[in-house]
């Protein structure tokens, strides 16, 4: 499987009378795109705005973010099972618009009013301390403001928000179909020097089987209680993994971070040079018994051993202590089978960093990388402009919390901001200093 990822770097976005891409500038016909969104009868209103890095703009009620991509040759489409038939993707050529995102600020009447499934969406600041905590502070963001009709179920709400976002993203990427890209990178797991170290990437994903959408989907199918799945890394680049588009907020991942996954890209780039990249093991986590966690951990470690892995990189998503145990037990199981494992995880540690950083410990976890803490507070200054669907005078992220004014300076838990001071897969360049 050989995938050519052709990149079109965009430096500016303007509204105009037609939608087209030329010399680093994307022109958008706002009416055309609003009309495209409104083709979905579950959408009652649609509007667009653009936020540029550096300007004092705060975007609110964000539910998901995506990078515009389109498949120009090879089987299937980007977001298989959602924008087209179910197909193994990751072959042929895909065009991608880098430097910009499509993000959805959406509103609907929820049927779930409390708990982790009830969300009002996340926040992105385009300047100041908030911008440094998110990859979306450095991208030009096309914000879709989408309102749904009353009476949609939770799963329909997810589908409608995701469909608006994905179809607009595809339409924008389509503008490059006949253009020559700035750069083309080729990704392939070709047969390579057998003396190179054999490395597998264990991509754990927390899913909640009991929710309308489990959080993470493969080809559009929400993953519920499955055992691990073996994937070609190229599948991620073509959008095989997507998220629950209702969620948002800092603690959940966006579609964008899965399709631009830096660890996957780096392992692909080093394949055949410094290492032999064997593939991605997608591990469902958050089993509700220790027994289930042990079964999952055993299964991953056996899959890695059958692949002949000598080393493993393992990451986790979502700030859950429950899910931490699954991943820690997997590190243990891999090490016990003689597979050297590096474990990337964010920490807890409390607001001042003096509390316990981790909820569980296995002695085999000897090589760990901290990817941030989601328990710190961040003070973000008063913006000049707030972009978001509907009434933006008062917003919240967790439906049960007291609403606050996004038009003022405000101190928030970093988890209110996308992506919450937590850098799951290495998109940011933040680091820490030892005092």
């Amino acid at each position: 499987m050989r995938l050519e990822l052709a990149t079109f770097s965009l430096r500016d976005i303007q509204f105009g009378s037609h939608t087209a891409c030329s010399k680093g500038t994307l022109t958008i016909n706002k009416d055309e795109l609003a009309k495209l969104i409104l083709e979905d009868k579950r959408v009652s209103s649609a509007d667009l705005d653009v936020a540029y890095p550096g300007e004092k703009t705060r975007i609110v009620k964000i539910h998901d973010v995506v990078e515009p991509r389109v498949k120009v040759s090879g089987p299937g489409c980007v977001f298989p099972g959602i924008l087209g038939p179910v197909e193994t993707v990751g072959e042929g050529r895909t065009h991608t618009l880098s430097g910009i995102t499509v993000m959805t600020s959406a509103e609907y009447r929820p049927t779930i009013l409390s708990g982790t499934e009830a969300r009002s969406g996340g926040i992105v600041d385009m300047w100041g301390p908030g911008a440094s905590l998110t990859p979306f502070g450095a991208t030009i963001n096309i914000v879709l403001m989408v309102k749904l009709i009353d009476g949609v179920t939770e799963l329909e709400a997810h589908e409608a928000i995701q469909s608006a976002e994905f179809r607009v993203a595809r339409r924008l990427a389509e503008t490059t179909r006949n253009l020559a890209p700035e750069g083309v990178e080729t990704f392939e797991l070709s047969i390579c020097d057998p003396s190179l170290p054999r490395v597998v990437y264990v991509l754990t994903c927390l899913t909640e089987w009991h929710h309308a959408h489990s959080l993470i989907a493969y080809c559009g199918l929400p993953i519920r209680e499955s055992l691990p799945t073996l994937m070609h890394p190229n599948e991620l680049l073509d959008g095989t993994i997507t998220v629950d588009a209702r969620r948002g907020g800092g603690i959940f991942t966006t579609t964008w971070i899965w399709m631009t996954h830096p660890i996957v890209l780096e392992l692909l780039r080093r394949h055949g040079k410094q290492l032999n990249f064997l593939g991605v093991i997608l591990q469902r986590t958050r089993f509700e018994t220790e027994f289930g966690k042990q079964v999952s951990a055993t299964c991953v470690s056996q899959m890695a051993r059958l692949l002949g892995a000598e080393g493993a990189v393992i990451t986790r998503i979502v700030t859950s202590g429950n899910n931490f145990v699954d991943v820690a037990l997997t590190v243990q199981a891999l090490e016990r089978k003689g597979i050297k494992t590096v474990f990337l995880t964010p920490e807890w540690g409390g607001k001042d960093g003096n509390e316990l950083p981790l909820v569980f410990y296995v002695p085999e976890a000897t090589a760990m990388v901290s990817t941030g803490s989601f328990e710190r507070d961040v003070t973000v200054p008063k913006p000049d402009k707030v972009i978001g669907v509907g009434d933006t005078r008062l917003v919240n992220v967790y439906s049960e919390d007291k609403p606050f004014s996004p038009r003022d300076e405000v101190t928030l838990p970093s988890s209110f901001l996308m992506t919450g001071g937590v850098d799951w897969f290495g998109h940011l360049t933040l680091t820490c200093e030892e005092n």
Binding site: E225, F287, E288, T289, E290, F291, G292, V295, S296, N322, V325, V359, F360, Y361
Partner: protein, 75 residues
């Protein structure tokens, strides 16, 4: 005063220093299983509670896990 702690996360409870940890069924329902019939659920709950009562009567040198005589079939 001896304490018996019934939890689905027994390894974590042991690490946190609980002296008598009893492995329960599942995080949302550590002391029973609503998917079973009322009769089977009662037998399951009874086995877990008996295990906890026995643990209370045992001397332990440090954090110890007690596993009740039940079958784990659910993830």
């Amino acid at each position: 005063m001896p304490v018996a702690f019934i939890t689905a996360m027994s390894t974590m409870a042991k690490q946190l220093g609980a002296n008598r940890v009893i492995t329960g069924t599942k995080i949302p329902h550590p002391c029973g299983d609503p998917t079973l019939s009322a009769e089977a659920d009662k037998a399951l709950r009874r086995a877990i509670v008996i295990c906890a009562l026995e643990a209370l009567q045992k001397d332990v040198a440090g954090p110890t896990i007690f596993v009740p005589d039940i079958t784990f079939t659910s993830g």
